[in-house]
Point group: C2
Chain length 244, copies 2
């Protein structure tokens, strides 16, 4: 936890906040903070700043937040991801918010098991906890916006143009001829939407559908990556190769 | 499992092999293969080829391996990694072998807990199982070589020059001025050695020590990444940006 993040509603007009959850535990047990100590802090989807520890009591920490930083800049990457197994998704969410993505579209695909959609990991509150964990690690404040789509066709037809303003769309597929890294080097795109398939890959129908909606088929290296490894690799490559 | 990999010792001179472990289970349950079916196969640290399913019995699959491919090319990336928590290491090993690294140096650091070195994950047999899993996912055959070092100073002083022929060494640190991606773009290096610290980072002493041994301090983006996310991101960036 490299930055203690609070929701705006937790902080009063004078900057006072009372923490009683894992943040309090982290401040007392890991950081072993004492009154007067200054920690890096911030407001979710808001500015960064500092938190001065005011009091440490059993299970509770009082802090005074002072905001001076700017809101974290908007990440340049959107991700359309075939819904992974719940355990994989839970591990992936903090890593994705730490790396920085703007939108996450979780979608159905023919090789996604239907029961994945019933997972508690998809509940907005639990999903948010994972995303905040990644932000507190990374030091940034901007939460990715997550949406769940049970029909990829409807997402592509009716919703994606409204929801993502990426100027290039890329479908990652191990069989592609061209590499993501070369496409990024040759492009003058500023924002990208990456599509990553399920374990077992997209179906031929899904690939054709994505191509119809302007997704260019590209690959990372010559290896078939698990979808979580592919996500981290692709988001890192795109974030680092797109202009800041 | 996109390629069934066998140890050379498992295959007789005529190419016959009998599988009774998770590979047999994968072939019968996931692939639902029947006799005559041809699967992608290969020999660990050897050539790729095919395996024809000869017989499927309870808990056992007989295959006939035919080798025609070449040995996977040697990955361009070596990784020096402060030993992560055992559970994190176990998850990371298959991802690293899938992405492709040549050497993995697992080392002590001041923020590495001593008991991590007692973990069963470090036992050569168990470590190898994780690495093979990643290779079977990726389709490549070359196993990363793993070594464990309880004193980073001895590793740097006495062993690293012999063990890694990388022409550039890079120490990833969130506070660095220059970016890994820019250094890779401007360099004519063909092989890189990446150093990634523990949760909590390298100590000042360790950073100075690494710098003394030709490690250039670089960063990925402006975010502080967990060491497993940093590993995957950095290996993907280096693999894709170094010349093939």
């Amino acid at each position: 936890m490299n930055r203690i993040l609070c929701d705006a509603s937790e902080v009063d007009h004078a900057g006072n906040a009372v923490l009683t959850d894992h943040r309090a535990e982290h401040i007392t047990r890991v950081l072993q903070a004492v009154p007067g100590q200054i920690l890096r802090a911030g407001i979710l989807d808001g500015p960064t700043g500092t938190a001065t520890v005011v009091a440490v009591e059993k299970g509770m920490v009082r802090i005074k937040v002072e905001l001076e930083g700017t809101v974290s800049c908007r990440p340049s990457v959107d991700l359309l991801l075939a819904l992974p197994r719940p355990l994989i998704l839970k591990r992936l969410l903090p890593q994705l918010s730490a790396l920085g993505i703007d939108r996450l579209f979780l979608t159905n695909a023919s090789k996604v098991e239907r029961f994945y959609f019933d997972s508690h990991v998809l509940k907005p509150d639990l999903c948010r906890v994972q995303l905040v964990e990644g932000l507190q690690q990374s030091g940034h404040t901007r939460l990715p916006r997550v949406s769940v789509h049970r029909r990829i066709k409807l997402l592509l037809e009716d919703e994606l143009d409204e929801s993502s303003d990426a100027d290039v769309r890329c479908l990652l597929h191990p069989g592609a001829t061209d590499r993501l890294v070369d496409a990024l080097r040759q492009s003058d795109a500023r924002r990208i939407l990456l599509a990553i398939g399920p374990e077992g890959g997209w179906s031929d129908y899904e690939i054709e559908l994505l191509q119809t909606y302007r997704f260019q088929t590209l690959r990372i290296g010559s290896r078939i990556l698990r979808s979580d490894t592919a996500c981290i690799s692709a988001v890192a490559l795109a974030s680092e190769l797109l202009p800041a």
